[in-house]
């Protein structure tokens, strides 16, 4: 147990270091000139040489990579993630403001796609070859090959522009004081982006669960259960869920990275002010501190997801749980 904790802490620290270093390296070798990118074309053209040099110093464009990184790292270790130059606010504050939006979006998509995908996968697998299975399979292949942003645009065209059921973008109504924004308003704005993200997330989990279900249903223990008179539905309930839920949950926790990636695109399409959108802005604007902050935040999320999957697996699977105990006793 102690070893498990220690290994994971080491892994976590190495991951954080790696992610932040890669972010700084990428920003430094990026051809984007932060000064030019952030002050705007017209302002940059009318700017004097001296002013430009001043701004370049402000952005730290001339500071060597490793000096910048270690400055940032030293501050980060003491809890200061630095200033977002693009938003002119502390990185922690920018992330905190936007994380709420993003987490709401991702949580909805994560739960809906997981539950829907799992159900579709189980029944498609158990009734393989039937019309239902074919429809689910077709739907999944279609979605798996559909770009998220394109689907987002399609939903916008149909539900926002033509039907007018949902707002065109943003997370709150325009022209309303933030104190007057209701929960319903927020949900109304969340609906389409969440739907886009959920619908595309279904394909992965459904196809995976379908394959797993086929494996389980053709396994010796299911054959034996059948020979003892259990019906397909009973077998699914008693043996299927037990053996299928953990792979599905593991996959779902591991797919947080994909949902995060998808949310970047979806937030762009729907102008939804979340982390993904901030990450794009930070990347294009050469805002290394903010980008590193967001990268670390998302890496923590993904790492946490995988860790939970690992722990859950041990709790539910007696083979892993008992072996863990015995190896500790030795």
């Amino acid at each position: 147990m102690a070893r498990f904790v220690l290994t994971n802490i080491t892994k976590f620290v190495l991951l954080m270091l790696g992610v932040s270093l890669v972010t700084f390296v990428l920003v430094s070798i990026s051809p984007v000139d932060p000064v030019q990118a952030n002050v705007g074309q017209a302002a940059y053209a009318s700017m004097g040489e001296e002013k430009r040099a001043q701004l370049a110093a402000y952005w730290g464009a001339d500071t060597p990579l490793f000096e910048r990184y270690f400055n940032w790292l030293g501050a980060a270790l003491s809890g200061d993630l630095g200033m977002s130059l693009r938003y002119n606010a502390p990185v922690a504050q920018v992330i905190a403001e936007r994380a709420l939006n993003s987490l709401a979006l991702m949580a909805v998509a994560w739960v809906v796609s997981g539950a829907l995908g799992f159900l579709l996968g189980i029944f498609a697998g158990a009734y393989r070859g039937t019309v239902f299975d074919r429809v689910v399979k077709g739907y999944c292949y279609l979605l798996a090959s559909t770009p998220v942003f394109w689907l987002g645009l399609l939903l916008l065209i149909v539900f926002s522009v033509q039907l007018g059921w949902f707002p065109l973008g943003l997370s709150v109504p325009i022209g309303v004081a933030s104190s007057n924004v209701t929960f319903v308003d927020a949900l109304h704005h969340l609906a389409l982006p969440a739907l886009t993200l959920s619908v595309t997330g279904v394909a992965n989990i459904a196809l995976h669960t379908r394959e797993k279900t086929i494996d389980v249903m053709s396994s010796p223990y299911v054959r034996f259960a059948r020979s003892r008179g259990l019906s397909t539905l009973r077998i699914l309930r008693e043996h299927g869920l037990r053996n299928l839920i953990m792979p599905a949950i593991t996959l779902q926790f591991a797919s947080i990275a994909e949902i995060f990636g998808g949310s970047v695109l979806v937030e762009e399409v729907f102008s939804y002010p979340g982390l993904g959108q901030a990450a794009v802005t930070a990347g294009l604007g050469g805002d290394a501190a903010l980008l590193a902050g967001i990268a670390i935040f998302s890496a923590m999320l993904v790492f946490g997801g995988n860790l939970i999957a690992n722990i859950l697996y041990g709790v539910v699977d007696p083979r892993i749980a008992k072996r863990e105990v015995t190896s500790d006793e030795l």
Partner: protein, 368 residues
């Protein structure tokens, strides 16, 4: 090959079978008449009418000859399978990939076998020759792309696919090979008691029955709380047997129930099946191990190329002259030559035998 012989089952329900073959429907024209006068319809090779109860030892009827233990209480077999065919629709494996057409591959053809009450019948055949498919067919476990035809009678009733499904765990029980047939994530106790039977009173009585069976087979109460991966091979075998006995079957189909055991241990393990048969049950033992079959079974059915080529009293293996099929005789010689060096056994069945018992100890359970 057996069309002329008439049916032995007096209670021929006209219930549709698993796509009955033509020969069997012909013999089933008037089920009521069969029911009324069971004896007169037994037109065997000799004209004299007789019931099942009066078969002589070694007498040939119904594709098989009898052992001394074979009995027909109620004038019928416990299980009769006649003219069973199992075919699969699949893409022609020989044809080039993109031009392969679907064709039907017949895995079992015109197979007949019977099990009487109180006996162990062994089906002996090479590994991977489709013996397990036979077990599946008897239990009504068909793959979606399988086409199954034939006539099956259980306990005097003609059973179709639906009735076979009803009989699973309710008359016919399977004893599978290994621990892989248990759900790796479910505790042993729950699996033996059986899941999905919701009734509370029943759950209590099943628990009691399970505890009784565990006690009888030397499985400690702690085993109920263990998971399949914690079982030793011997424990797993007893657990699997308990699973079958929970449902109080009339017929047990044992599909290679003693894998990896040497002959003496395997014979010991078969004592439980012997006890079950002695109490009036029937056991269909599916195995690749001819020596095991000859030592524990009452009758042996030789399975080759998807059919039973000979179904006979185990005593017939005492001499090649009492075996009718050339393949059975080949088997007999293969067994005899076992302890002679340099002699290649001409039979593939021996490849997985894993038994080295001297052939001198061969057939014939003691008579009487």
């Amino acid at each position: 090959m057996t069309m002329a012989r008439s049916k032995c089952e007096p209670h021929g329900n006209a219930q549709p079978g698993v796509k009955p073959t033509t020969e069997s429907t012909q013999s089933m024209q008037d089920p009521q008449a069969l029911h009324d006068q069971p004896r007169s319809r037994h037109g065997h090779a000799h004209a004299e009418p007789h019931g099942h109860a009066q078969h002589l030892h070694g007498e040939f009827h119904h594709h098989h000859s009898h052992a001394h233990t074979s009995k027909h209480p109620g004038f019928h077999h416990l299980l009769t399978v006649e003219g069973l065919n199992v075919a699969f629709r699949m893409y022609d494996p020989q044809a080039p990939f993109f031009r392969a057409k679907q064709r039907e591959v017949e895995v079992i053809h015109d197979l007949s076998i019977s099990v009487h009450e109180g006996e162990i019948v062994a089906i002996v055949g090479a590994s991977g020759s489709g013996k397990t498919l036979l077990a599946d067919s008897i239990m009504g476990l068909f793959e979606p792309n399988a086409r199954v035809s034939g006539v099956i009678h259980f306990n005097g009733e003609r059973v179709g696919a639906d009735a076979l499904r009803q009989l699973r765990g309710n008359g016919i029980s399977l004893v599978p090979q290994s621990v892989r047939y248990l759900d790796p994530l479910m505790k042993i106790g729950r699996q033996v008691e059986g899941v999905g039977r919701s009734d509370r009173d029943q759950a209590a009585s099943r628990l009691a029955k399970r505890e009784q069976l565990f006690a009888h087979y030397g499985l400690g109460p702690e085993v109920a709380d263990q998971y399949p991966f914690e079982l030793s091979g011997g424990m797993a075998r007893r657990v699997l047997l308990c699973c079958a006995l929970m449902d109080e079957p009339k017929l047990i189909i044992a599909d290679e129930p003693t894998p990896g055991l040497d002959l003496e241990l395997a014979i010991k393990a078969m004592d439980d099946f012997r006890a079950f048969a002695d109490e009036g049950g029937g056991v269909l033992l599916i195995t690749h191990d001819i020596e095991l079959a000859l030592r524990v079974a009452d009758r042996v059915a030789v399975f080759k190329d998807g059919t039973v080529v000979e179904e006979t009293d185990v005593a017939s293996f005492a001499s090649p002259d009492s075996l009718n099929d050339p393949f059975s005789r080949e088997l007999w010689y293969a067994l005899r030559f076992e302890d002679m060096p340099q002699t290649q056994a001409p039979v593939e069945d021996r490849t997985e035998g894993a038994t080295t018992a001297p052939a001198a100890s061969l057939p014939s359970r003691e008579e009487g």
